[in-house]
């Protein structure tokens, strides 16, 4: 079982890869809308990638209002 820290790191790594930003440039508290300059649709695409990676289903409502990586990781963690 992953720890929340591990999950958070994997979320950050995956987001860096998906949006082509240098590894290590994203931090858990970053606002992904701002930091990655993405809109809500691109966020949904990122969620699909995360679901595949973690092997979970994350309903859209779980990420409603979430804008930072740490909270996103904790929502994923609760479904692992």
């Amino acid at each position: 079982m992953r720890t929340l820290e591990q999950t958070t790191q994997e979320v950050l790594d995956l987001a860096s890869k998906h949006f082509n930003v240098p590894e290590g440039s994203l931090a858990p508290e970053d606002d992904f809308f701002k930091k990655l300059g993405i809109d809500s649709l691109q966020t949904l695409e990122m969620l699909s990638r995360l679901e595949n990676h973690f092997g979970i289903e994350l309903p859209d409502y779980e990420v409603q209002g979430v804008s930072d990586f740490r909270t996103l990781a904790s929502r994923i963690q609760s479904r692992l």
């Binding site: 606002d31 809308f33 701002k34 809109d39 809500s40 649709l41 949904l44 695409e45 969620l47 699909s48 289903e57 309903p59 859209d60 409502y61 779980e62 409603q64 209002g65 804008s67």
Partner: protein, 570 residues
């Protein structure tokens, strides 16, 4: 389609529609690749009636208000019908608002019943805003896990009355829905929409975009939104068409739904339409140069053949590879909620996919103008719908003035706001606050807003005053939030931004620490409500005797600053 002139209320029309089209499919609900539910009109009725009976047994009577806070799904429509059947007033709220905002609107609307889904209720139940004094007495929660603590709520699935409910008739002038057009700050704007508003709007819209049995509408815009309520519920139902709901709106499942369910109509906000355009453009760019040349030639042929009107069959044959992913049955994409750039509209039309672009306001009962596609025009928002009188008042030399509207679809007023209503509806004319002009062909063109608000590409109306609370106690002398185009009108419908006007303390300078403080507070707002920059102002803000900021006067003073240098991006 039912003859709506015979009906007094939404409930009465829907009731007859369920009989008339009893064997037709009315709802399909899918969750990812799984189809969860497929209901005929008869089955829909069988689901809704026990709910209506239970509501009546719980003391719900004519004129009582019931709110729905749910993502798009069959239970939304079933619940809404039960409320109308029992003579209730529906208060559809945005499930994307924060729980505190939802409680605030529940209080403001005077809802006695709340119908919501478990994940939303889980948040509402623990929100600070729950302490707001509401009169919500019955809370129904869908899809709650077996052993979940419902905090006093009841399970929607078990809230079923025995026996026949009695249909409660309503009059055309009675309020059918209270729809919050925007604003959850100091002044929520609850539009009181009458049964007549919906009946008349439905007749007007379906005269241009008809529904019928076999037609399938993909419901993506939230159903609390005026557009989806009309074209994703009332419109298709009174014509015997079907509505398709998706429980997840991930692009890959939305794409799949078009072909899987052979969708006829879909409504989108401009942001999603632009995203679709981007996806298609990437595909086109990947074509080899030879294929690209052939493809461009086919588009040119399609353009020439559809110059005067859409020819769907022909376009589908010519551009098969483009139309197939859309299921091959798509007639029109309806776009609304915000301004759509002409280039995007033209892109789709050239591919043989007409986009019904229009202009509307919740206050006007959804749509005021719609492009009738005869011929297609990307540079306008179309002509007034049947029954709509549209007038431009106080036009400038170039003919641009405020758009005003009179019709049977105009709301009866804002709930508990007689003064605001009187400012907005003058002698029966709705003052839209939007600037426009008619061209020689009778098409309306829009040129920005007169009012202090912005509309995002996702169709969200943002009133600056509603987001000031996060900046309270900011270490400055005073501050005020504005729509940048309200201060410096651009005569443009794009590039709308919010700004924070700051008056610093004597001797204070705008340092990085303050910028960071503003930025941190800003990030607490939902992303579409965030400010984009700061404007420094070195005089006291004009205020009323009760010390409220005179926004108009301050805006006039700020307008004297040069936007290019005064606007400091965050």
């Amino acid at each position: 389609m039912l003859d709506l002139s015979k009906y007094q209320s939404i409930g009465a029309a829907l009731k007859d529609a369920l009989e008339e089209f009893s064997k037709e499919v009315c709802l399909i609900e899918a969750d990812r690749e799984r189809e969860k539910e497929r209901l005929t009109y008869l089955e829909f009725k069988e689901r809704a009636q026990p709910l209506a009976k239970a509501l009546q047994d719980a003391g719900f009577v004519a004129g009582d208000r019931a709110s729905i806070i749910m993502t798009n799904q069959s239970k939304w429509l079933i619940s809404a019908y039960a409320v109308f059947f029992a003579g209730g007033v529906l208060v559809p709220l945005d499930y994307k608002l924060t729980p505190d905002e939802q409680w605030q609107l529940l209080k403001h609307s005077g809802a006695k019943v709340l119908i919501t889904e478990y994940p939303i209720w889980r948040q509402l139940n623990v929100a600070e805003g729950r302490s707001a004094t509401t009169i919500v007495r019955t809370v129904l929660v869908t899809e709650a896990p077996k052993n979940a603590d419902l905090g006093g709520a009841q399970r929607w699935e078990e809230f079923r009355g025995r026996g026949e409910p009695s249909f409660v008739p309503r009059a055309r002038r009675d309020v059918a829905c209270i729809v919050y057009s925007s604003g959850t700050g100091g002044r929520p704007k609850g539009c009181m929409m009458t049964h007549e508003n919906y009946l008349e709007q439905c007749v007007a819209l379906t005269s241009i975009y008809p529904f019928a049995p076999g037609v399938r509408y993909l419901s993506i815009l939230p159903t609390n939104h005026a557009i989806d309520f009309m074209v994703g519920f009332f419109g298709p139902f009174i014509c015997g068409a079907a509505v398709v709901h998706l429980r997840t709106l991930r692009p890959e499942y939305v794409r799949e739904a078009f072909s899987k369910y052979r969708i006829t109509y879909v409504s989108l906000v401009p942001l999603v339409l632009k995203n679709l355009q981007k996806g298609l453009q990437v595909r086109f760019d990947e074509l080899s140069s030879g294929k690209r040349t052939v493809f461009n030639a086919i588009i040119a042929v399609n353009k020439a053949l559809t110059k005067n009107r859409p020819r769907l069959g022909l376009s589908r044959r010519l551009l098969k590879q483009v139309h197939e992913p859309f299921g091959g049955e798509l007639r029109t994409i309806i776009v609304g909620g915000a301004f759509t750039e002409p280039q995007t509209l033209q892109f789709f039309y050239d591919l043989g996919i007409p986009v019904a672009n229009g202009y509307g306001l919740t206050e006007a009962g959804t749509a005021i103008t719609v492009n009738d596609l005869k011929p297609f025009r990307a540079d306008t928002v179309g002509k007034p719908l049947p029954g709509m009188e549209v007038r431009i008042v106080n036009p400038a030399a170039d003919g641009i003035g405020e758009v005003t509207v009179r019709s049977k679809t105009i709301m009866s007023g804002y709930l508990n706001e007689p003064e605001l209503t009187a400012e907005t509806i003058v002698d029966g004319w709705l003052m839209t606050g939007d600037l426009g002009r008619f061209d020689a062909a009778g098409h309306l063109q829009l040129f920005g807003r007169k009012k202090n608000m912005i509309v995002t590409e996702e169709g969200k109306n943002i009133y600056p005053e509603d987001i000031e609370s996060v900046f309270e106690s900011l270490p400055v002398k005073e501050f005020c939030v504005f729509a940048a185009n309200y201060i410096w009108p651009q005569r443009s419908m794009v590039g709308e931004q919010l700004l924070l006007a700051l008056h610093l303390e004597p001797g204070q300078t705008y340092l990085e620490e303050l910028r960071r403080d503003i930025s941190a507070r800003n990030s607490k707002l939902l992303n579409y409500k965030r400010i984009h920059g700061v404007v420094l102002f070195d005089q006291d803000f004009p205020r009323t005797a009760s010390l409220k900021i005179k926004r108009n006067a301050l805006a006039e003073q700020l307008a004297k600053l040069d936007r290019a240098t005064a606007f400091l991006p965050l």
